[in-house]
Amino acid sequence: MAKLEIQESDNGIKQVKVIGRLDILGTGEVETSFTAHTAGKKEKVIVDLSELDFLASIGIRLFLITAKAQAKRGGKIVLLNPKPLVEDTLVTAGINLLIPIYNDLELASDDLNSAVSE
């Protein structure tokens, strides 16, 4: 129901695309891999949501775990290109106030590069 595509680029930013449904089952499928890739060490992470079809609170929780971990480590995570219904859920949960949401890759990268020291 959900899968990840990880892409590391030479500018030091890690892109994680989440595909499918982040309901209980989908989140269960990807959470270990997601946190391993995004929360283990200080990191600049873009979570690409362009192919995420459904997001429940359990999926939001996953993003928060990474965001809290990165905040502690001096890293940062941002969200990119959520579909309108997913974005609506993020905003309803107040997540946009905690994790920036971008609709443009460059703006997302700029934020990460200026916020996170090398």
């Binding site: 309901d23 209980i24 219904l85 949960a93």
Partner: protein, 152 residues
């Protein structure tokens, strides 16, 4: 005469649709739930993608909570879900025989203002209450009956 594919049922007459689904209180039953919503309900009710998403979210949160919190561990039970389409409204009834719990009277979660203070959790009921247009709770015959109405 053609029928558009969403947000409108044909309406020469009046139509009422009832869909029932019974689930065990196990997480791997949630797969059936989303297939039921995104396939059966969505096709039959001809509702917009947005309404399907709302139904999906409300039920995902409610059923996950029932499976997580309503029963002592190892206790097998059944959750009955009824979706009722009638004149621009969807009513969803969820019936379980777990411990009494009224999701309408829990205090609303305080959305965190910073990552440091953010609690990992407590968003489910907030989302349910945001997306429904009306909710009613009854405790009857040792059952929780929670009903949600959505305008379409």
């Amino acid at each position: 005469m053609t029928v558009s594919t969403h947000n409108t049922l044909p309406h020469t007459g009046t139509t009422e649709i009832l869909c029932y689904l019974t689930l065990k209180n196990k997480f791997d039953e949630l797969n059936k739930l989303s297939v039921w919503i995104n396939n059966d309900i969505s096709t039959l009710f001809k509702i917009s993608e947005r309404t399907v998403f709302k139904v999906d979210l409300i039920l995902a949160e409610l059923i996950a909570n029932i499976i997580s919190y309503a029963y002592p561990s190892q206790c097998e039970s059944e959750i009955v879900i009824k979706c009722h389409y009638f004149q621009d409204n969807i009513r969803i009834d969820i019936e379980d025989s777990g411990i009494p719990f009224n999701p309408l009277i829990t205090p609303d979660v305080v959305l965190p203002q910073s990552l440091e203070e953010a609690d990992i959790g407590g968003l489910g009921i907030h989302l349910i209450r945001h997306y429904m247009d009306e909710g009613t709770y009854q405790r009857k015959d040792n059952k929780n009956i929670f009903s949600v109405r959505l305008k379409i």
